[in-house]
Structure formats: C-alpha cells, structure tokens
C-alpha cells in the first residue's frame, strides 16, 4: 500500500473556500476544514466534510510571531469537534501566487510549536495545515507517534473534476493516434486523464455491458465491475457481445430435461467474464477488475471505495442503498442509470416508458432523501425465496423493468457523457444539476428535482450522517463473504478476479 496522502474536496465547499481566501484584496485569510479519512490501495484520502471560515479580525487576527493566526478559541472549538466526531482538523490559509503553494518558515515553526499539543487533544486523530495558492495546494499532516507527511495533491469533485498540486506536474499528454479524433474534443490532456482514472460499474447486465464497452473505448485505464449473475438466453437481446454459447443455450433450452437445464444455467458464462471480454476487445491495455458478487456484500463493496467515479447499473434496492452510501460517505461522484415501464394493471396497456440518469454524491443528488430507495423492497430483497412464498405480498403497482437494448443505450450513453464531460472539465458551470428523465413515447425529456435534505442521514451534514466520514462508519452491507457456488471450477475463469480469490 502506498503512503501517499491526498485530499478530496466537494466542489461546493471548495468554491466557498476560494471565495473566502481570494476575494480580490491580495491579503491572507484563514479557515478550518474537518475531514473524514479513508485508506486504500492508492493511499490515504482525506474527505473534506465541514468548512469553518475564520472571520477577519475576529477569528483570524494579527499573529504574534507570523503575519496572521487563528485565535485560540476558534481552534479549540474545532479541535474538540474533530476529536468528538473522529475527524481530521486542517487549518487553512492562503498565500499569493497562482500555480505553486508552499509553507513559509514561520508557518512550519508554528506547526512545530502547536501540533504536538493538538494531537494530544484529538487522541491520535491526525491534525494538519493546508496552504492554498489560486491553483495550488500544499499540506503538512501530523500523525501520531511523531510521523509527519505532506499532501501529494487535492481533487475537487462534483460537477467538475479538478486536481491541485503543490507545483504543477509535467504534462501527461499522451500522443496516441488511436485517440486522435477523441482528443480533438477532450483536449491534449483529456486522454491522459482518462487513462489514470479508476471507474466502478455496479452491474454488468443490459446497461452495465454497454458502459463497459463505452468506457473501455474511451480509454479509461481501470474498470472495477461486479455482478453476481450468469448469462441467460433471455439476456441475449441486450447484453453486448453475448452469444448463445455464453448462455449454454443448447443445455438450458426448455425442451431439455430439468437436470440438464440446471446444469446449463450453472455452467453458463458469468456476466463478469463477458464484461472482461468486451473490455479487453475494446482496449487490450485496460486494467479490468471483475468480481462475481453482489455489492450488497461487504467484501465486494470494499472494492469500490478507491474509485474515482461510480456507475450504478444494477436494479436492486440493496445496490442503490450501498452505492448511494459509498458516493456520499467516500465523496465519489457517480450516476445511477435505470429504465422502467409502467403498465396499466387492468388493461395491460403500456402507459409510459422512461430512462433515467441520476447524478449522485458530491455535486449530485441522493437516492435516499430523494425517496428512490424503497424500504419495503429492501425488506423483500433480504427475504429468502421460501420466506417470500410463505408470506403473502400484496401485488405492487404495475411497474416492470423493460429489457430493451435501445432504452438501455439512451441512459448508458447520457451517463457516459455525464462522466466524460465532468472529469474532463467540459461541463459548463451553470449546467443543469437535476435528474434527467427521457420519455421516448412522448419524444421529450424532463428534469426531476435532485434533492439534498440537510437532515438526511446519507448526504446531510448532521452529526450522525455518514457524509464524508470515510472508514469511520460501516456501510449498509451484508457481513458474510460472497458465496461461490462452484469454487472448484474457479480454474475455468483464470483471469477473472473473484471476491473469493482476492485474499
């Protein structure tokens, strides 16, 4: 595991901080960020949860040794809050300059005077300082037992994706003629940026398989994809690249004996192996991490915590709850994609068909306070088949999931564009932020409210919310490990990483 430390800042918080630090007076200003923490294979990420602006002349005053300082009372209240809520305290000020940021000698001496005592107060939670230039950031993070690390970079996430460093790194432009036509839209650094991204896709079915194709062809460097299912003959009309051989159609044909049909269903290709094939065909150099498992399982969800972006292409409420939690708890922007049809129960007439693209996480909405996660469906999905048969459920209203590749493609393409233009900085600052709904029968598109309730336990800033808490809070996942039906046959899929193999 690398020891790199980075900071993730939601774009709304960053914009408020920037306005405070750089109001145009050329002077120095102060603030505090309280942050959650998460550790992953790519290092330790601080997650900016709360911003406390220090009022000039009240909280941020002339210093005794340096130019300015935060007043002791201001520091005390925030440090105690950090201790009580298990957050990281980060003191902030700004310097002049555009693309370089560094602490002065006075700054560093003040850290050495004060931070050992702050570490005692926070009972081992890290404390530190950040200094901002207009387009740069430097950080000095103090850890327990005398350890001290610098901040490698910060990433602003939400409706834009922007990186800050202490100094601007060398350009990572990739001159690959394969992506020439794409580079004319994304700019010279766009392809390089995509190559360094780690993108998660939850679900490799009708929508997910399209996303794998799109993202691999765009040149995304790493895909993390989970799906528990195997290919079925009924999937063939909408699974990209799927064949009758994948479904073992000959064995699973309904005219075969039951034992042969069961064998066919159990030996059919996993949707993950199909996704792996699609991705490698589109981009031989792609890093593909496939998981035959359900994101509702803790060890599968863990694989997504280090992603830069998430696509939720699974249609269970359990997946919605976990993905929504990850997006807000770990400040990972993403999008939920779905397609539905409404059928009149009495007449059987098709009333409405729609595809939706719902941005989630920083800069987006929330599926929980948007009432898009049904508590009743969560309960039903947790039941065994036997329990469902034993209980008498009232029939739900006539909402069924269509299985049409063209409807899936509308949503998948819009979601992929949402991702592409966000991460490459092409989305306009005043672009619509609501949820998009496409109504093909009416040939129109509408915007649905994209809520963020301050009292929401998922996206709100409240004391008990999971927002930007990182590893401090458990995800709403199943605690047992994902099961494998045929562990002895894992050799059939040698290049697929499964949750069971990844010890």
């Amino acid at each position: 595991m690398t020891s790199q430390w980075t900071l993730t800042i939601p774009d709304g918080l960053y914009d408020r901080l920037q306005a405070h630090l750089f109001p145009g007076d050329g002077d120095e200003h102060g603030a505090v960020i309280l942050a959650g923490v998460t550790q992953g294979p790519r290092g330790t990420r601080l997650l900016a949860r709360e911003l406390h602006l220090a009022a000039d002349g009240v909280d941020y005053v002339p210093g005794q040794r340096g130019y300015r300082m935060l007043k002791a009372e201001f520091i005390r209240d925030r440090v105690l809050k950090a201790r009580n809520e298990r957050l990281v305290y980060l003191a902030i000020h700004n310097h002049g300059g555009g693309s370089q940021a560094a602490f002065s000698a006075d700054d560093l001496r003040s850290h050495e005077r004060g931070y050992p005592a702050l570490l005692d107060i926070t009972r081992g939670m890290p404390v530190g300082a950040l200094v901002f230039a207009e387009n740069a950031i430097a950080g000095d993070i103090w850890l327990s037992r005398g350890r001290r690390v610098g901040l490698a970079s910060a990433t602003i996430v939400g409706r834009r994706f922007q990186r800050l460093w202490p100094t601007l790194p060398r350009s990572r432009t990739i001159h690959d003629p394969t992506y020439d036509r794409q580079a004319r839209l994304l700019g010279p650094d766009g392809n390089a940026l995509l190559r360094h991204l780690r993108v998660g896709i939850i679900g490799a079915g009708g929508v997910g398989s399209l996303l794998v194709e799109f993202l691999a062809r765009l040149g995304v460097g790493t895909l993390v994809v989970a799906d528990p299912d195997r290919v079925d003959v009924t999937n063939l009309p909408r699974l990209v690249g799927a064949t009758r051989w994948d479904a073992l159609a000959t064995l699973s044909d309904e005219r075969r004996p039951q034992w042969m049909q069961r064998l066919g269903r159990r030996l059919a290709s996993t949707k993950i192996s199909l996704a792996h094939r699609i991705a490698r065909r589109a981009s031989p150099s792609i890093a593909f991490e496939g998981i035959v498992g359900d994101i509702a399982d803790a060890d599968v969800a863990q694989r997504y915590l280090d992603c830069d972006y998430l696509f939720l292409a699974a249609d269970t409420m359990q997946a919605r709850l976990v993905c929504n939690a990850i997006a807000h708890q770990y400040l990972i922007p993403g999008v939920q994609i779905g397609c539905k049809a409404r059928v009149n129960e009495a007449s059987g007439d098709l009333e409405q068909v729609f595809s939706v693209v719902r941005p989630l996480g920083p800069g987006g909405g929330c599926l929980w306070c948007g009432q898009l996660i049904s508590p009743a469906r969560l309960q039903q999905e947790a039941e065994t088949e036997q329990e469902r048969r034993q209980q008498r459920y009232v029939n739900e209203a006539g909402v069924v999931a269509p299985s049409v590749i063209t409807l899936n493609a509308v949503a998948a393409a819009h979601a992929a564009n949402e991702f592409l233009f966000t991460v490459t900085g092409l989305t306009k600052p005043d672009a619509e932020r609501a949820f998009a709904r496409f109504l093909p029968l009416d040939r129109r598109m509408v915007w649905d409210e994209s809520p963020n309730d301050p009292a929401c336990p998922e996206c709100g800033p409240g004391l008990n919310s999971r927002y930007a808490k990182g590893d401090e809070v458990l995800l709403p996942t199943r605690s047992r490990r994902a099961a494998t039906r045929w562990p002895g046959l894992r050799w059939l899929y040698p290049r697929i990483v499964s949750a069971e193999q990844d010890d």
Binding site: L321, P375, A376, L378, Q379, A382, Q391, R392, S479, R480
Partner: protein, 132 residues
C-alpha cells in the same frame, strides 16, 4: 449480547432497545448469517378484542435495518376474536421460522429511518392489532 454474535451496529442497538422496551418479556434473537436477526418477543400482553391474553411476536431485522422496513410481523397462529368474527384485513395465515403463525401485514409507506425504530414499529403494530 455476546461479542461473537454477528449483528450490524444498528441491529445490535435495536435488540437492546427491544429488551429495554419489553422488560417483562423474553426477547429471543437468532442470527440470520448476514448481520441481521430473527427476533421473537415472548408473552406480549394482548387481550380484547382477542380471546388470548398474551401472544408471542416474531419479525426479522434485516442487515440493512433501519433503512429496510421491519415487515411483516407474526403472532400466535390460534389468534381468535372474542366476538367470533374473522380476523379481518391485514391478518392472514402464515409461518414464522417454520412455525405456524398469523401474519400481521402493516407496511410503513413513509419510513423515516432516522426516527422509526424496530421498537416503535412493533408498538405501532401492537396498537393496531389491539384496535381491530
């Protein structure tokens, strides 16, 4: 609660709240293997309009509690009314943990996961049951 019992923190809190809310009843729990629990609260007072003076109440706390509804609940299978009438809508024959039971179907349509606990839900169900 034994440390080796594998419940999510939310389910663990709910079990403790149930024990506090029903101090005169045994709260029997069984792990479901996913972080949730099958719960039976014994000897819950009942009485009119029913012939029986007490009942057991069974339900499941899923691993995604409190986001998931706690539904349905189950009570004794021989539940009968003093007036001899049928039990009525919302009550039907079912099974809980392979045991014959009367299923009480009271779904929470507007669930506030921050406020509606398993105890509150059970008290609402019992209140509804006694008001039939």
């Amino acid at each position: 609660m034994a440390p080796q019992e594998n419940y999510t923190p939310a389910v663990r809190r709910a079990l403790e709240e149930l024990e506090r809310a029903f101090p005169d009843s045994a709260v029997i729990r069984e792990q479901d293997g996913e972080g949730g629990a099958h719960v039976t609260v014994e000897d819950v007072p009942l009485g009119p309009p029913y012939r029986q003076t007490t009942t057991w109440v069974g339900f499941r706390l899923g691993f995604q509690y409190p986001y998931a509804d706690v539904y349905p609940h189950f009570v004794r299978d021989d539940l009968t009314r003093l007036d001899g009438n049928a039990l009525g809508a919302g009550l039907s024959a079912g099974r809980f943990r392979e045991k014959p039971a009367t299923q009480v179907s009271r779904r929470s349509n507007n669930l506030d996961a921050t406020n509606q606990t398993a105890v509150l839900k059970l008290l609402k169900v019992l209140d509804w049951l006694r008001s039939r």
